[in-house]
Amino acid sequence: MAAKSKSSYLAGFLVLPAAAVVVLAMIVPLGYAVVMSLFDFAPGKETAGVFVGLHYYAAFFQDHVALKSLLVTLIFTAAALGLELAIGIGMAVVLAGLPDRLSRILRAVYSMPLLVSPIIVGLIWRYLYDPTFGLVYQWLKAFGLEHFGGLSKPGTALFCVIVADVWQTTPFILLVVTSGLTTVPHEVYEAARIDGAGFWRTLFRITLPMIGKVILLVTLIRGTDAFRVFDIIYALTGGGPANSTLSLSIYAFKQGFEQYRMGYAMAISLITMLVLILLFAPLVKRSSYMEQS
């Protein structure tokens, strides 16, 4: 009995430091943000804040720019996620039939963008999108498409940002789905072939349903990441032109650090988190994350 309680003390002692860091760097700031989003204050003058209640939360829904950034964030999330899932799963299926060694080398090449800092991804794509010497325009010119707006026109900027995001993060889906595919037993494919099922039929009736859990997981991870998007937009457009690429995270950042409206910025960022949780909570429930515990 004594040994039992001693070892549970030890367990607590092992868990405590990690929990303390998360509390200190996450829970405390979150609580603080909730409180300070009810005040009007400038950075460095927190004590002189004026209590405004839920004013900022109400203001969000009357602020055209805020509502637009919500729309931009939703479009970005849906489009980026859709393209990345389609290309990532598609390439994983193509890779699956290859000899092991070739597949390993190709995966190593394909996963490079994943390791590049988002600010550098921004730099790379700004260079490629440059209207005078960028590679994108040189190739578009060959097809007579040099009037493409690129990053500088509101109509096309968000699309260009999505392309850069697809470039960077599709490999993540490719890698995870590839390892998911290795868990599908070989006999299943044999059986499908004997039954005369063609390529597409096998893909949609057998392969994809069997890795449903994995697809759900990558959707959850990539979806929540896309909804929080900051870095790549900051590096490519900073939210412009004409707020056409303004995501919620960028808007909150700008309100806080450029307009010095910290209270409003915190309200926006908390609304971002709430919408994210509401959107993805149904997926979290079904994903294998919860099953692990």
């Binding site: 367990a11 190593a108 490079m112 730099l123 700004r126 950042f253």
Partner: protein
């Protein structure tokens, strides 16, 4: 038979196209970093040219890039050591003591993955400013450690689950304490996984922008912040920023080749085996 080879040909084209799509943008930057000003702006793009190291000497002499490099390495090493050290012990505590509420605690760590960086940064900036630590290494180290911890805990739990319980039990019967059993038996078995977790943590910290951007100052800028200052100015110095970008991304890409097996497993917290 003909149909089959047509399909294989199509597959080959797809694989090659995706490889080019992946490599060309990175190759462009590496190439630009070795180009002279004149070659950089030549249209169409010059694929063959006389390489020069001018951009590198410019970036490192008057760009303070040597210091940023040191700052990035320091922040990455300290925050990863903290995340991996505390996270691995925490995972052991959660899994091998039959704790009653361990499931709830695990979910508590999982929640950390849902908080947007900006939501964390805004209050953190105000609080760190209040205690006078803005511009020190404390801000980025704390933020990176906190972001990496949940992921390390989850990853370590998945590795610990693969270790047969009998190994620990027989060590305990032989007279080891719990901690001795962890140090001598369990830790060596999960070491490859822990190493991967450490490298992935470092990669996050090395590449992370938004926390470092607001919580550091001129003396403590990390590489991504330094690059963002280059890019942010009115006219981008492509040569210099390409050199800085190449120096920043090459180490992590090279390391990435060796831990490729763990990339899928690591980024999903061990839910998918690589």
């Amino acid at each position: 038979m003909l149909r089959r080879s047509a399909r294989n040909g199509f597959k080959g084209i797809l694989l090659l196209a995706f490889a080019l799509w992946t490599v060309i943008p990175i190759w462009m930057v590496v190439m630009t970093s070795f180009k002279t000003q004149k070659d950089t702006f030549t249209v169409p793009v010059k694929w063959f040219f006389h390489p020069t190291l001018d951009n590198y000497s410019k970036a490192f002499s008057n760009g303070d890039f040597g210091r940023y490099f040191g700052n990035s390495a320091l922040v990455a090493v300290i925050s990863s050591a903290l995340a991996v050290g505390l996270g691995t012990l925490c995972a052991y505590g959660l899994t091998s003591f039959g704790m009653k509420r361990s499931g709830a605690l695990m979910n508590f760590f999982m929640l950390g993955k849902l908080v947007p960086a900006v939501t964390m940064l805004l209050p953190m900036f105000v609080l760190i400013n209040e205690v006078g630590l803005l511009g020190s290494y404390v801000g980025p180290v704390l933020a990176h450690t906190a972001v990496n911890l949940p992921f390390v805990v989850w990853l370590a739990i998945s590795f610990l689950k693969d270790v047969p319980r009998e190994l620990e039990q027989s060590a305990l019967i032989d007279g080891c304490t719990k901690m001795q059993a962890f140090r001598k038996i369990i830790f060596p078995i999960i070491l490859p996984g822990v190493t991967a977790a450490a490298i992935l943590s470092m990669q996050y910290s090395w590449n992370e922008l938004v926390f470092a951007l607001q919580l550091t100052n001129m003396d403590t800028y990390t590489l991504p912040v330094g690059i963002s200052r280059f890019v942010g100015s009115v006219s981008v110095d492509w040569g210099k920023s390409s050199a800085a970008a190449t120096v920043t991304m090459m180490p992590i890409i090279v390391v990435g080749f060796f831990i490729q097996k763990y990339l899928a497993e690591g980024t999903t917290g061990g839910a998918v085996k690589g």
